[in-house]
Structure formats: C-alpha cells, structure tokens
Amino acid sequence: MAAVAAEERDLRPWILLSPALTTITLLLAIPTCFVVVYSFWLRTAAGGEQVGFYLDNWIEVLTDQFYRDILFQTFRIAAITTVLCALMGYLPAYFIAFSKMRNKAFLLLLLMLPFWVSYIIRTMSWINILGVSGAVNYVLTSLGIVSEPIQMLYNETTVVLGLIHFLLPFMVLNIYVSLEGIDPNLVDAARSLGSTPFQAFREVTLPLSLPGLAAGGLLCFVLGGGTYITPLILGGPTDAMFANLIYEAIIIQLNWPLGSALSIVLLVVLGAVVLLYNRFLGLGQIRKGFG
C-alpha cells in the first residue's frame, strides 16, 4: 500500500509518527537544549536564578580537581563492572547457547528473571547478605570463625558488586544472541582441521561473539556510569559517582545551574562512548536483543 501512495507525498507515516515525535521533541530534545542554556545562568545568594551568560558554573566544573576525581572514579567503577560482567556473563551465555538440554529457553528466562526484579530490591538485598547482621556474618560468627561481625559493606567493592548484579543480565542476553547466531559447522570445521577445542573457541567462537560482547559492554558501561542509586545504598561517603553529584546539586542543594553543567558533562562523556560505539560497530546489534 505504501508503493501505490508513494507517487504523491504520503502523509500517513508522518501522522502515525507525530504523537511520538512530538513527545520526544517536547519532553526530551527541547529540555536537553534548555539545560545547556540553564548551565550558563547563576544561582543567586537568595536562592533564585540570575538569567544571563555566566561562565562561573563551567569554570568550577572544568577546573575543580574534585569533579575530575569523581569523573575518573566513575569511569573506573563502570569499567571494572563492565569487565567483570563480561567475564561472568560469558559462561552462562555459552552454556545456554551450546547446551544440548531441552530446557534452554527456560534457562535463559531464569537468568532474565532478576532483570525483572526491582532494581532497588536487588540493590538492597546485598545488605541482607553482607551487612553486619547479614547472612555471611551470621554464618561466620555461628561457626566461630570470627568473634565480631566484619564490616563488609559501604565501599567501592560493594558498589561494583551491586552494579554487576544489576547489569549482568544485559550482558548475558547480548552475548547469548551473538553466540546463538554462529553456524555450528564453523566450529566443527575448525575441529576437523585439527584445532583443539580451546583453539577452536579462541579462533572461531570468541571472535564471532565479539559484537555481542561489545553491545553488552556498552550497555553495562553506560548504565553503570550513569547511576547514583547503587552508590547511595551500597557505597560509603567517598564512593560517590558522577550522577551522585548531579543528584546532590539538583535535589539537595537546589543549585540548578550547577546541576545543569554537571548533567551536560555526564551527557557528553557517556554520549561520546555511545557515539564511538555507533561509529565503529553500529547500534543495530543492541536491537537484536529485543527480537
């Protein structure tokens, strides 16, 4: 039907698209541009905003060592999380993709289940495991291994742990999708030509699954790098990530111009990661996970 109407200008797709595009323009595109403008305003001592073109927020954000340190820390936490997710996610994805079991779909569904379990519940559940009166300390003290409960929570390690627990399903799904698409004959061919199973994996399977690994990695890095809830719940006072600064500026200090400048920094930094990925690998791979 599209072909017939294509002669004249077909308005139908535009009518269908207009509600969604209007929503995105009004609620996303214009507000994001507005935040750029807002970042040049000033917060006055009285608590209002001074409209104008002031560079004060930007000078503060770009020159203060504190912000650079937190940005670096955010990158480090997101990178460690991504690498660990890749290592931990590959095993179940590989197992589900190549297992001869009949219940493969069930296994995959099972691993996707935590993905549905509330993020805040999953984050908080680690307090039940690692807290002073949590499961691990309970076992250790009942067995007499330690006399006093150990303080294991509220440090960078627990932040990474919480993030892995949150992001691992994204990684598994993406690796699985790319492993599932590999022609099994390729591995058989490599084996029949004399390679060991590990060689066949290294030379054939692993390179062919790289697109999935990269897509999962992108999601883990960007979602991990933009979070503030996990550090608030599982981190100590020094484990803030960049998004925590934004939360602090906007919600606690009500310094909206400064919060705007910080938001733009996070958007540019994480956006650059997405653009680089899109430039070299294309965002199409991520869509496959929804098929």
Partner: protein, 263 residues
C-alpha cells in the same frame, strides 16, 4: 572436552547462584518473625505482610505506583505502536535519523533525562505533580515499547494487510481487523514491559515526584535511609512477586495468543 564443559557448567551454576541468592534471602527474611530484618531466622510468620497492609504510607505508595504504571503503559504503548507502524510499513526520507530519535531516551543517561525534564517544566512554571511523573515515565518507557513492537512487526507479512485493502477495507479497518490482532502479543509485551519499568523506576522518579508523594521504590528508598527493617523485606517480597509473576504470566498468555493466531 568434558572437563572444559563441566567447568563451564560449574561457572554457570555459580553465576545463577550469585543472581538468585540475594533475592531468595529477601523472600526468606520477609517470613522471619524476629523484630529485626536480619538473621537469625527465629520462626516463620506472616506478621510483616499484615503490617504492610496496615501501613497507610505503603498502601498509598502501591496505589500511586499501580496507577502510574497503568497510565504509562497505555500511553507509551499507543505512541509506540503508531510510531512502529510508520517505521516498519512505510518508506520516507529521514527514516534512519527518526529511528534513532525514537530510541534516544535510552541512549541518554536517565539522570540527565530526569534533570532536563524537571528543569524545563519548572521553567514553564509547572509544579512538580503527578503529570510530570507520568510524562517522565512515558518518555523513558517509549523506546522499549518501540523496540519490542518493531521487532515483532517486521515478522508480520505485509501481504495480509494488502489482501484486506484490496478487498475493500479502509486503512483503519485493516489495522483493527488484521494488523492489531496479529500484533497483539507484541502490544501486550510492550505494555507489560512499560508497566514493569515504570513500576520499578527510581532514578527519574526521585527527581520528578512531588514532595509527599511516594511510589513503591521511593518509599523503600526512604525506609532504607532509616534502617533495614523486616517490613522492607516483606515489601521486597511483594515487589518481586508483582514484577516477576506478572511478566511471566503475561509471556505465557502472549504465547497462547500467538499459537491461536497461528492456527
């Protein structure tokens, strides 16, 4: 080969354990009769669930979350289905760019999305209210609906619609009589997806919610600031049931519908 495979299997079991143990502990502790939301288990009891049901703040949070989730899923699925139809069934200039624009809300960090929407609407002197919360949830869930519905729509043959059109049905009639029934599993999946994401959202919600209004996640967040109590575990157990059992039964329903329409 065998030892390699058993290592992989062992690793898989450990990863599953890692994913499920904390969730299982929440459910276990929610039945603990002890005063404190922690080990040891002193006995099984439903008292924390009863206290939940009697806690006005929590019941209110549940009502807010459910209303918000339903409205979000209806609006964003309607927008998403229309946009997906345009994307999959028509050719027009600028299509690739628009396709990226439709999923832009998930390419932008959610905090930034939250800040920009909040500041812009406050600039327009719109107070923090339920509408702001709803708009935020719609924009945030829209890309997920679009991705799910598009993936399914690609697999529905255009010939069915063309047959209906050539037999004299109008475009709107064709949509409701042919396309929509075939698309129903994806529409339901999209709605459930949107509902669950909205029901679970905290990152944006903390920015958008008016003072005094809590959704279930922000209520849990506020309670966590004080200390971890047995009530939180019980609330967690209820959340787990809602966000896990609901999509599972939805998936089963969708599969049944798909099978019926395939027959």
């Amino acid at each position: 080969m065998l030892s390699g495979w058993s290592l992989i299997r062992l690793g898989t079991v450990l990863v599953y354990l890692f994913m499920f143990a904390p969730v299982a502990v929440v459910i276990l502790l929610s039945f603990n009769s002890s005063q404190f939301g922690a080990f040891p288990m002193e006995g099984l009891s439903f008292r924390w669930f009863v206290e939940l049901a009697n806690n006005d703040a929590i019941v209110r949070a549940f009502k807010t979350s459910i209303l918000l989730g339903i409205l979000t899923s209806v609006i964003s699925t309607t927008l998403g289905v229309m946009a997906s139809l345009a994307m999959v069934r028509y050719e027009f200039p600028g299509k690739n760019l628009l396709n990226t624009a439709l999923i832009a809300p998930i390419l932008i960090p959610e905090v930034v999305l939250a800040v920009s929407l909040l500041l812009f609407l406050q600039f327009l002197s719109m107070p923090k209210n339920f509408l702001l919360l709803l708009l935020g949830h719609v924009i945030f869930t829209l890309p997920f609906v679009v991705l799910v519905v598009q993936a399914r729509l690609v697999g529905i043959k255009k010939e069915y619609e063309e047959a209906a059109l050539s037999l004299g049905a109008g475009p709107i009639q064709t949509f409701f009589a042919v396309t929509l029934p075939l698309l129903m599993p994806a529409v339901l999946a999209g709605m459930l997806f949107a509902f669950t994401i909205s029901f679970d959202d905290i990152t944006g919600t903390l920015f958008w919610k008016p003072p005094g209004v809590e959704t279930v996640p922000t209520q849990i967040f506020a309670m966590l600031r004080i200390s971890i109590s047995p009530e939180i575990n019980a609330l967690g157990a209820v959340m787990i049931i809602i966000t896990v059992v609901l999509p599972l039964s939805g998936a089963a329903l969708a599969r049944r519908l798909a099978r019926r329409s395939a027959e």
